[in-house]
Amino acid sequence: MSVVLILLPLALLLALGFVLGFVWSVKKDQYEEGDTPAIRMLIDDSKPE
């Protein structure tokens, strides 16, 4: 059972990492608008001129 003492902090650190990632993405307006980016990525880069 003592392995829990290592795994538990590890799991919580991982969770904290994801929470911080989420906070960052909200602050960076990643959830502002979901429709256009889904379409924008369909456009290919311009052909070399």
Binding site: L8, D35, T36, L42
Partner: protein
């Protein structure tokens, strides 16, 4: 350059056999050449000249989110955007400007518009939101807005500049962002507490058991101190104004639950509820976030629609016209009013003569003639040639302004929602019982009493009400929105379910709102020559009758004419083949419709009957509404015979057709009927729309109606009314069903909690189980709703 291939997607219709496809918009058209209209041709030329031919490559086979449309060539001038006083309205101090762009339909549009910074000087960056057709530009310091707007128009779109109301919008955005953060945090904490709870339910004891319990507390802290703050805030607000709302027991359960669990943790008792409490907060935050999101979206689309109607006045100074928003006009200013424009202020005609349509005041759709010296009113529409108006009263003092002001003043009295009313009693009962059970045990076993009271609070936590009600509303609103019905609030939906009487406006609501030729009767002469003569005389007039006749006689040729003149308010005349020809009103006592005649040297050749056509779906909708138990009536400002004839056509008794009503009389009628629904479009209906239990504004309505209505229909289809009434009633059913379900759960859980038979595991299972049941019930709605609001695959 090789011609671009015609896109062969489902969204772009392929030309009919023998027909042609426009090289710009891709739509089939009849005629010759490569383009369906001048607009499309111009855009095609411009795109290719600017090296943007790639647009057509991208569009080929592209995903279209809206059907494409030919370019409507309405050359608008944007010069006014750059006068300092006007610019301040549209551009933020940071140099951001926003346009609502009409005509965006596919990926290629996105590609084209986001290239603007490379095409027009002065734009630093640019972003398009396709779901709202909203273009946000960041300008370089001092860059002019007008050339940008003109360029966008040149590309075949219609840009509408949006006033920069930054504060309100920023605030909303910040609030939603914060709500999302709370939601995300609550979700993360809930998940991790569950991780701790599993071994506890599994029977972990001793040192490890204590470790997991303590960790639950640590992870729970951010939820209690930050995530749940909105509930504390509204609960405190409600208590301060001595009211009961759903957040009171929620906040109480969270506070008491947290305290008891912490107390138990310290004393070593196994009863801790951090997992249930965190899950509760998370679910509630999620449902509220979603509801708010749906509401904000419909509020924003009705705001965007209002920008369609943003009026502009052409102020004359030193012989030149400067465009300004009407609010900036002063008494004594001279203003040019062009054909088709709405008068920006009350005043007097200074130069010129014309015809004004006062439909918003009187409901009468035939224009009234005015000449120099006549007094005219704001909001009437110029249907004749341009004239000069001297501003006599400011907008705020005009009749239109007064109606506007009255609307602003009359805030709707808040109606307490059904679930709120019922849950208030329910909540009081639960609270009293919880306190009662605690007091009953207080003397002997205070800890046991606290446990039971808390189990009761958690297990009966009005999840179904707190969570399912907003979700049910937001699903219903989203369903309506996808069909083009913008319902402004869940409360409006609830009011829809109560509607007992439906009032229709006539012009523009039951009818299309424009005259068409019903028939020509040739009394004398050669019919073909008569038709040509008629078109010859009507060829250039701006009068609605002339437009209708031209439309009817399209493809007919004209004859040479001398001295063609329009006598405002009388008719037209001119000389053809040496004879004096006239078109003027020829009243027909047998008909209620508008009649004009073609006369040759005073002899009647042809009689033309014109009428405002009924919407084809009107009779069946009226029938369906009456079958649904609603009283249906027509309210119109028009003359009695016209309204009575229309009532017969839609299948209503004459007693239900009320004619010759002023805007005030209309609103009195609507106000007198309980649970009334008013459907209208013009400004003359605005008061009635506001006074009605539910106000529905039709497509094409004025900004005023949009502002006050509860529902806005983005397509002019009356069938929407039946859909909406059904949606309202069915949503009410779903609410009651959820209510029944949660009461059943609560009775079982509550009795178990009071008796002390419930353990934390059972409470933790019952709580989410009841939530999931009501969630499913809300999402599925009813069969009738699923049938009517079937998603287009």
């Amino acid at each position: 350059m090789t011609p671009p291939p015609v896109p062969a997607t489902l969204a772009l219709p392929t030309p009919q056999s023998g027909g042609l496809a426009c090289r710009h918009c891709g739509l089939a058209f009849i005629g010759s050449g490569d383009f369906c209209c001048r607009g499309c041709e111009n855009v095609f030329t411009l795109l290719n000249a600017s090296g943007l031919g790639e647009y057509y490559d991208i569009r080929e086979g592209a995903y279209c989110f809206q059907p494409p449309q030919p370019v409507s060539w309405k050359g608008e001038a944007f010069g006014h955007l750059d006068s300092p006083e006007v610019r301040a309205v549209y551009v933020t101090p940071q140099g951001e400007a926003r346009f609502f762009v009409e005509g965006i339909h596919c990926v290629a549009c996105l590609w084209l518009l986001e290239r603007l910074p490379r095409l027009v000087p002065g734009i630093r960056s640019c972003r398009l939101d396709v779901s709202q057709s909203l273009l946000t530009l960041t300008l370089e310091a001092g860059a002019a807005l007008a050339p940008i707007a003109a360029f966008i128009q040149g590309l075949g779109y219609r840009p509408h500049a949006l006033p920069a109301d930054q504060d309100a919008e920023e605030l909303q955005k910040r609030e939603q962002k914060r709500a999302l953060l709370r939601l995300g945090l609550a979700a993360a904490c809930t998940g991790n507490i569950m991780l701790m709870a599993v071994p506890l339910y599994g029977g972990a004891t001793g040192a490890f058991g204590q470790l997991f319990r303590w960790l639950s507390l640590v992870i729970y802290l951010p939820v209690a101190f930050w995530g749940a703050v909105p509930f504390y805030r509204t609960a405190l607000g409600a208590l301060r104004s001595r009211q009961m709302n759903i957040d009171v027991p929620i906040a109480l359960a969270i506070v008491v639950g947290s305290l008891v669990s912490t107390f138990n943790l310290f004393t070593g008792s196994p009863h801790i509820y951090f997992d249930s409490l965190a899950a509760l907060v998370f679910l509630l935050l999620a449902s509220r976030y979603y509801l708010r999101q749906v509401q904000l979206r419909s509020a924003r689309s009705s705001q965007l629609l209002q920008s369609f109607f943003a009026p502009i006045a052409h102020r004359l100074a030193d012989g030149t016209a400067y465009d300004v928003p009407p609010e900036l006009l002063k008494v004594g200013d001279l203003v040019r009013v062009d054909n088709g424009e709405r008068l920006p202020a009350d005043g007097v005609v200074r130069e010129g003569a014309s015809q004004l349509n006062a439909a918003w005041l009187t409901g009468e759709h035939l224009p009234v003639a005015v000449k120099a010296g006549d007094a005219v009113h704001a909001g009437t529409v110029n249907e004749g040639p341009a004239f000069v108006l001297e501003v006599g009263k400011l907008l705020g003092e005009s009749r239109l302004g007064q109606i506007l002001a009255q609307l602003e003043r009359e805030a709707r009295s808040p109606i307490i929602g059904m679930t709120d009313r019922v849950s208030r009693h329910f909540l009081t009962v639960v609270l009293v019982m919880a306190v009662g059970i605690f007091l009953a045990f207080a003397a002997t076993h205070p800890a046991e009493g606290l446990n039971r009271a808390l189990s009761l609070l958690i297990v009966t936590c009005p999840c179904a009400l707190a969570l399912a009600t907003p979700l049910t509303f937001s699903y219903a609103l989203a369903r309506a929105y996808r069909k083009g019905y913008v319902v402004k609030s869940g409360e409006a939906l609830e009011r829809l379910s109560q509607v007992r009487s439906v009032f229709f406006d006539k012009t523009g609501t039951l009818t299309h709102g424009e005259l068409v030729v019903e028939g020509l009767t040739h009394v004398a002469g050669d019919p073909l020559r008569n038709r040509r003569l008629l078109l010859t005389l009507e060829q250039s007039s701006l009068h609605p009758i002339a437009r209708a006749i031209r439309h009817h006689l399209e493809g007919e040729s004209t004859l040479p004419v001398e001295g063609l003149e329009e006598q405002v308010g009388v008719g037209l005349r001119g000389r053809v083949e040496g004879r004096m020809l006239e078109v003027k009103a020829v009243p027909d006592p047998a008909s209620v419709h508008t009649c004009v005649g073609l006369l040759e040297d005073g002899l009647l050749l042809t009689r033309v009957v014109l009428r405002d056509r009924l919407r084809s779906e009107a009779p069946s909708v009226v029938q369906a509404l009456r079958e649904a138990g609603c009283e249906v009536a027509i309210l119109s400002g028009d003359a009695r015979p016209v309204v009575a004839a229309l009532a017969r056509e839609v299948g209503l008794p004459e007693s239900q057709a009320l004619a010759a009503l002023s805007p005030e009389a209309k609103h009195a009628r609507v106000e007198a009927a309980p649970f009334s629904l008013m459907v209208g479009d013009g400004a003359n209906d605005a008061l009635a729309l506001r006074k009605a239990h539910v106000g529905v504004a039709m497509h094409g309505g004025m900004d005023l109606s949009l502002k006050v209505a509860d529902v806005y229909l983005s397509h002019p289809d009356l069938g929407a009314l039946v859909d909406l009434l059904v949606l309202g009633r069915e949503t009410r059913k779903v609410l009651w069903r959820n209510f029944g379900l949660s009461i059943a759960y609560n009775l079982v859980g509550g009795i178990a909690a009071l008796g002390g038979w419930i353990n934390p595991l059972a409470a933790a299972v019952i709580m989410p189980l009841s939530s999931i049941t009501v969630l499913l019930s809300s999402t599925l709605s009813t069969r009738e709703v699923r049938r009517r609001f079937k998603e287009a695959a």
